[in-house]
Amino acid sequence: MTIGESPARVGSVEKALGRARFGSDQGEPGDLFLVCVRADQAPATIEALELDRALAVPGVVRIFTAADIPGEKLLGIIPVTKDQEFLAENIISHRGQAVALVAAETEGAARKAAQAVELRLSALKGVFDHREALAENAPQVHAGRPNGNLMARRVIRKGDFESALNTCAVVHEAEYTTSFIEHAAMETEGGRAWIEDDRLIIKACTQNPHYDRGDTARFLGLDPDRVRMIQAETGGGFGGKLDVSVQPYLGLAALLLKRPVRMVYTREESFIGTGKRHPFLMKCVTGADSDGRLVAMKMDLSADTGAFASYALAVASRAAVHATGPYYVANVEIDCRLAYTNNPWAGAMRGFGVPQAAMAHEGQIDGIADKLGMDRLEIRLLNALRPGQETATGQVLTQSVGIVECLERLKPVYRTWLSEVGPDSASGRGVGVGAMFYGIGNTGVSNPSTARLEWTPDGRIILFTGAADIGQGSDTVLRQIVGARLNVDPERIDLVRADTDFTTDAGATSASRQTYISGGAVLEAAVALEEMIFSEFEDLMEADRGDLEMAAGRVWVKGSPNGAISVEEIVQSLAQRDIRAVGEGRFDPATVALDPETGQGVPYATYAFAAQTAMVEVDKLTGEVQVKRVAAAHDVGRAINPKCVEGQICGGVMMGVGMALMEEYVPGRHANFENYHIPTIADMPEIDPVIIVEAPEESGPFGAKGVGEPALIPTAPTIASAVGQAVGRPMRHLPISLERVMDAVTGVNDEN
């Protein structure tokens, strides 16, 4: 049995030796190098694009513009909202948008030529604030849209908010804001493309090779069968490598020049040329009875989706669906609107709007607790979802609801820390608590994964999966699932991963879905393969199938291990009849689409739950906040690999520290780590204990759900709660900068 053990991550030896080849390491001598020419002003009309000077730079081979695109000009991850020009044709919609693509013999020549391109722009009136974007007479980011700048909307209605609010003993009303955030995966976007047998082959870092193939083929006017996408080793993603980046450029140049090409974004390009986390404004009214039970909740959420749609529909739905947090609330009124602006586009980033919404629901429940003089953890326990209760979308949760256990197991730690800090804020220290729930997989739509497993006559076991491991560990976990089902050492299983010629679609590495959904597909493939092997054994040995066992590559009738024969023999017997021992699996969690008017439905088949607590220390003279300690309790269903789960949780906590205290991307100001700071090891709190709660999910492989995004979601609200306690005022705006802390300490901008 390998479930619950922690074998070393697949690929970690190669990475430790420096031998892993990432997207940005791809290339061979003689490859052309590609660089985009990007506009530094938006919105604007392109008046002229003069290429002569750039073409005269020695080594330049060709410069492509929108006129060279053979296929569809508009790309985008969600099929109904493809709106992104990867080479702008007439209008620059956001600063940093590409207008031309230089191909040159060397990187130096390509960069020099990119600077020599003369781009003349004529400024247009723009809109850079999502509230202003939805006002009447606001400049339109994309002309001719019936909904104007309103990109996405999600409404949830349950019960009767207005009447219920009138019955409440206590009502809390507040506003929260969050910032644009850069993913800052350590590897910037990069890859290589070449032509082989009249087909285009692209090897690049990505979170979703099958989507990349489809959209790149559309862009180039090719049948998808003529494009092969291979995932290179990918140096982190966090949602930033879900949109295509270098892939269409690589494909365009390789296809039209018939030469191998490579491309690597500089860190500056990665900042200005990729998506961001949506900044949100959240206006909330929450009512509770005198015991602290939540009765009514209204939230008006709005966010800046920038110049292009990307994942906006998903973010709008997710933020709305999760806006009540992991609590039972009978009367709910939620409106979530995402507006186009001329800022860089916002898309998927670890949590799809839920980390932002968590700031609001956790701030609100703290507010109610404070008004009633209740303990902040006890009020969460009182309201936490229990089996049999309904979410805001009317979904009755029947099993695998681990939030109560998360809070219970966190409670002793929280109590100890509270007593260490003391009741008043004079010490400068504070303890906070936060909780979340998170639906695994895409929202209210089919999002299957498929997998294939083969046992070859020469004794190899090969798992073919389209799931992109970007560092989170799906290679390791999927092998463990196969190993556990077939009773073989996972080390024996070879992987063919994320190559569209050899693996079927597993969907995106996003929405914390690969362990649950691709794990489910892989498990089903293993079951199918086992079935085939048992059936052949039965024919060979005339045994009763119900009584068969398999382990370590041998099959026998239960109770008669002496009569075992090897799987190899069975596979060879099949091979003699030209039958390959292959199992195929598919898993698509059951969902019901959300009603457009009421938001009622079953958006996800299962949810992860979590609670965290944090102790902070605030320097009231400088505003500096140090996160001293964090404890995290996460219901993951079943930890297939506890060390990987712990790695995800600690990584999520640190990304949450960044979101809470330091990260705010300002277009035009930030383009590298010189002034956009992400947490270093010096910022790391003691993350202990990490508590893994296992409320098994019936439909998950060995009970597993997911953890990637849940790891991050409670952290920022937990830290905000702790800082709020330390300074004696709620902290509702991220990041909690020195200035914001000092304003709170000195009572400036006091909302209360």
Binding site: A8, R267, I470, M684
Partner: protein
């Protein structure tokens, strides 16, 4: 210019190295030593950390000519065979997720453990504060550094090919 230096234990002579070339570009583009990564190009992330005469430097900020006549060790030169104890500790501790920061992180750790056999948490944090990681939250990296310290202390097998 002509650049002569010792890289991972071998003396190399490279012609036509531009005066403005960085050590990073020489390692990656001329020598094909792709284990050393470029994460930011401005000396902020530490992904390009290599040892120059035993001291950790950001190869992206180091002019190639500064390596002339000196000794450079990259991630490829750390282990004489198999894995170096620091590499082994990173694998065993789960300190490697996407792995892009790993070569730089391992070189900084090796440099730390060469000068301080038994570093405390503050020493480790100070030595690795210039190496960014976006995946792990650093906890398992901290575990790995401690485990590596114990391994190196035990084995005394801390000599590397050029070291």
């Amino acid at each position: 210019m002509n650049l002569v230096f010792e890289i991972n234990g071998s003396r190399r002579s490279l012609g036509n190295v531009p005066c403005h070339a960085t050590l990073l570009s020489v390692l990656r583009d001329r020598l094909g030593l792709l284990g050393t990564k470029e994460g930011c190009g401005v000396g902020e992330c530490g992904a390009c950390t290599v040892l120059l005469d035993g001291e950790p430097v950001n190869a992206c900020l180091t002019a190639a000519w500064k390596a002339a006549g000196r000794n450079v060790i990259t991630i490829e030169g750390l282990a004489t065979e198999g894995l170096h104890p620091v590499q082994e500790a990173f694998v065993d501790s789960g300190a490697i997720q996407c792995g892009f920061c790993t070569p730089g992180m391992i070189m900084s750790t090796y440099a730390l453990l060469k000068r301080s056999a038994c570093p405390d948490v503050e020493d480790i944090k100070s030595a690795l504060a210039g190496n960014l990681c976006r995946c792990t939250g650093y906890k398992q990296i901290l575990d790995a550094v401690r485990a590596a310290a114990a391994k190196m202390d035990r084995t005394h097998d801390d000599e590397v090919s050029g070291g």
